[in-house]
Symmetry: C2
Subunit: 263 residues, 2 copies
Amino acid sequence: MRLVVVFLFLATVSATCHANCFIEQVVHQIHPLRPRSGAGGYRLENINCQSWRLAVETKNIINWKLVPEACEGYIGHYMLGKQYRKDCETVANVAIEYAKSLTLAGDGKDIWVFDIDETTLSNMPYYARSDVQFGALPYNDTKFNEWVAEGTAPPVPASLRLYQTLLPLGFKIVFLTGTAERFRAIRTSNLKAAGYHTWEKLILKGEADKGTTALVYKSKKRTELVNSGYRVLGNMGDQWSDILGDNAGDRTFKVPDPMYYIG
Amino acid sequence: MRLVVVFLFLATVSATCHANCFIEQVVHQIHPLRPRSGAGGYRLENINCQSWRLAVETKNIINWKLVPEACEGYIGHYMLGKQYRKDCETVANVAIEYAKSLTLAGDGKDIWVFDIDETTLSNMPYYARSDVQFGALPYNDTKFNEWVAEGTAPPVPASLRLYQTLLPLGFKIVFLTGTAERFRAIRTSNLKAAGYHTWEKLILKGEADKGTTALVYKSKKRTELVNSGYRVLGNMGDQWSDILGDNAGDRTFKVPDPMYYIG
């Protein structure tokens, strides 16, 4: 059945395809060599990639390890195409409207919490690599940390626009990330190079929190902020573990991310 | 500008359109007569309907009153087309996989909580009406209650399949709805006619809870269940107010609903 489909596909290629056909064929050849696995590592039959993405974004599918093999192309097109950008712009627009509707106390304690990866900085140059494939290949800690150490991640444009709107409104910015403390210097220079030139706090994950889940770690750090007199008026992240838990914030904003899951 | 677009549209209609063109033109003529309003009642510029729907489903846009005028057609096509059905099937598949992974205590206290409207029963025959327009026209309590009183709502097929899977696994079913207590008889017959033939409890909103938000009301009712010894292993609803709050359940499942918001 599959062979027949492949044959028909190849037979029609010359009539219908564009310049990237060769690349697609090569990529297709790689697929049978890779284990098939969906959310949770099992094989998903007849997966609808749009439905999979919605289920991920709405926290129906959790604890997943890999983008389903069948959806690698779909997720790649989504992330590199217009829709991801538009989705991010819409979230930023809603957040800006909310931020502008508030009257701040003016005591410097009104904060907006931002996650970093896939929220304020984009790792797309890394995720688009052929050895990463938009999260369809297993996460490699060493490789990812090498990319972080380059310090060249661009901003998520919509989130940078939100950031630039929040500052003159009087919000103090707190970056709260699961990145390890040892990357403080490079993350600082990366944030500044991307346009995030000032902040109240940049909280990275120290040795004491190593091994705790993102949800527990971020809840704890937000609680410390609240205990210090800060008010979390807004909180934005690409993972539900960024925006659920203790002192999640008066309003939370979920930026799309169908490439990986952090619990 | 708009007139030019309309002219070009009409000029190309004869060449490109199908049988429903006349209907589309009539619907288009109605639009200028209606107030433009987006999430929260304000005018949204350059709205991307896919982004709007994702933002609604991920709880970024809250407290909205109407489907944006510009998205009425998009939402209608989504709800009546294949994607809504596939999205519901995917949520049900994930829920079934979760349910099957559990070992129940066998004491009859393991429950699955279902919301009713747009979760187990579908109001599509109502929402597709020309005087409702998939939530693009203001909600009319009297009209909606007349529809509920007919008791003819069909099931959401994917959720019925989940229900049919849960029963033999040993789950007790609890329906928890914001529908008023006075509709108990008709809701009971409607559920049974739609295929939901048995349940542990059918909880409707009594006089004591009138005026409380859905989030507070449903939290209270779930807490009463837990205090009676029940364990909420799963909880499924089309609104975030169904699945957030106290005793939300070990796993929650968000069924798509871009037609209305209940806080």
